[in-house]
């Protein structure tokens, strides 16, 4: 009969030689090796759906690219992937190479990884195979995390200045778990719109991010008023703008509503590049500049420590 103390010793020995632990460690190392070549990792999140998070991500990427940065976007919204459409790379299959899966290269050279590029049609929902249909819901969460891990570790991102991660909406476990998979995440940008409901939800997601130790770089208020295309006059659309005091984070920019934002996204031609003189394009550039500034400042603080 084995003694309890011997079993305990064997248990420790087992952990050391566990193949599962080793393989999971290998996966983490692979993600880290890829992400080490990315200078800044920024997650874009919103507590609420429909506020234009993906559209902000794409235009922010273009604004950063215009500043000479190498940019990639990881479309982590696995159930509502829209980044490839907005960058004109819908349904471009990944090419497998010894270096990894080559990301699609969208407008202006922006690299994109998205589940959309693996789906057979633009309208196919993201569903996972399981031994029986009833297992689907059980595995969904685990499979989604594995996919994000593969996007981080298997995609040949190369050297990037910025990787923007378009997180799924909500304050559930998904955005948090995804964010925690990204090593050395610099921070999150929160997108909202000026309605009371949206602000409340966003305030919750800011707190949520802070509780998880994810630094919030600032907030982007989308659909912040309407800017007349003829005379340039601004009109409030949904309500009073957000203030820094209300939410406790810096406001990085207020993007005025412009119907061309949606139209250009549908055509895969980002607004910032298509209408460089529009007020909304100027705001996107300002947001990009402030993010860069915040990250440089953060680096200065760390260097000074």
């Amino acid at each position: 009969m084995l003694e309890r103390s011997r079993l305990k010793q064997l248990d420790q020995e087992y952990i050391k030689r566990s193949e599962v632990v080793r393989q999971v460690e290998d996966q983490i190392a692979r993600v880290r090796a890829r992400m080490d070549r990315v200078r800044h990792k920024v997650a874009v999140m919103s507590g609420k759906g429909g506020v234009g998070k993906s559209l902000v991500t794409v235009n922010l990427a273009v604004a950063l690219m215009e500043r000479g940065e190498e940019v990639g976007i990881l479309d982590a919204d696995l159930n509502g992937p829209s980044i490839p459409t907005m960058l004109g790379v819908e349904r471009r299959p990944y090419e497998s190479t010894p270096e990894g899966a080559l990301p699609a290269v969208g407008f202006g050279g922006i690299k994109v990884a998205s589940i959309e590029l693996l789906l057979p049609t633009a309208t196919t929902p993201t569903l996972w195979k399981a031994p029986q249909g009833a297992w689907d819901a059980v595995w969904k969460g685990t499979m989604e995390m594995s996919t994000i891990r593969e996007f981080l570790g298997d995609v040949a991102w190369g050297a990037l200045d910025f990787l923007l991660i378009d997180l799924p909406p909500g304050t559930g476990d998904k955005p948090a778990t995804i964010a925690q998979w990204i090593p050395d995440l610099d921070g999150t940008v929160v997108v909202t719109m000026p309605s009371k409901v949206s602000k409340l939800v966003v305030a919750r997601s800011i707190q949520f991010a802070q509780m998880l130790g994810l630094p919030v770089i600032g907030l982007v208020e989308n659909m912040a008023g309407f800017c007349c295309l003829t005379c340039g006059a601004e009109t409030e659309l949904f309500g009073r703008p957000c203030t820094e005091e209300e939410l406790g984070v810096p406001i990085l920019g207020r993007i005025p509503f412009d119907c061309r934002l949606t139209l250009s996204a549908d055509e895969g031609r980002p607004f910032v590049a298509e209408y460089p003189d529009a007020p909304a394009a100027g705001q996107f550039r300002e947001v990009a500049a402030k993010i860069k500034e915040a990250l440089e400042l953060k680096k200065t603080f760390f260097d000074a420590l």
């Binding site: 084995l2 011997r6 064997l10 087992y14 030689r17 566990s18 193949e19 599962v20 080793r22 393989q23 999971v24 290998d26 996966q27 349904r91 299959p93 990944y94 497998s96 190479t97 990894g100 899966a101 589940i115 693996l118 789906l119 057979p120 049609t121 196919t124 993201t126 569903l127 996972w128 195979k129 399981a130 031994p131 029986q132 297992w135 059980v138 595995w139 685990t142 499979m143 594995s146 996919t147 891990r149 593969e150 996007f151 298997d154 995609v155 040949a156």
Partner: protein, 136 residues
């Protein structure tokens, strides 16, 4: 999970695994001391749990195709290499009344897949129509 031989006080070695039924596996271990073999039978849920972690049974190198796990487990991804539509073919599809367009698209895509076409061009549509005409 490891198995331990209580007689020899050593860990058993993984030997191999075999699929038994839809999703279930038989995983075989042998004691390096006395040679005693045991089999662990997994149910589909347990198999899927290991699978979803992206680890391989029995260990060994984890190198595989990039995005392998996602490609294997995502429904419909095996059809990802399915036909694309040329611009002209898309225009032809637009001629179909909206209520019947989805059905027409699916039918032609299925035809293209069955005949090994990676892209649906006007020529493929003509070929399909020709065959349908011959049948009718």
């Amino acid at each position: 999970m490891k198995h331990f031989c209580c007689r020899c006080h050593v860990y058993m070695d993984y030997e191999n695994h075999e699929p038994l039924d839809e999703g279930s596996l038989g995983i075989f271990f042998r004691c390096p001391g006395c040679g005693h073999r045991i089999a662990l039978i997994t149910n589909p849920g347990e198999t899927m749990l290991v699978h979803s972690l992206g680890v391989k049974l029995g260990g060994g190198p984890v190198e595989g195709e990039p995005l392998e796990l996602t490609r294997i487990t995502l429904r419909g991804s095996e059809g990802r290499e399915g036909p694309l539509w040329s611009a002209e073919a898309k225009q032809r599809l637009e001629r179909v009344p909206p209520f019947a367009r989805a059905m027409a698209r699916q039918t032609i895509e299925r035809y293209a897949l069955e005949h090994g076409y990676r892209e649906i061009t006007e020529a493929v549509i003509e070929e399909y129509k020709g065959q349908m005409g011959a049948l009718g």
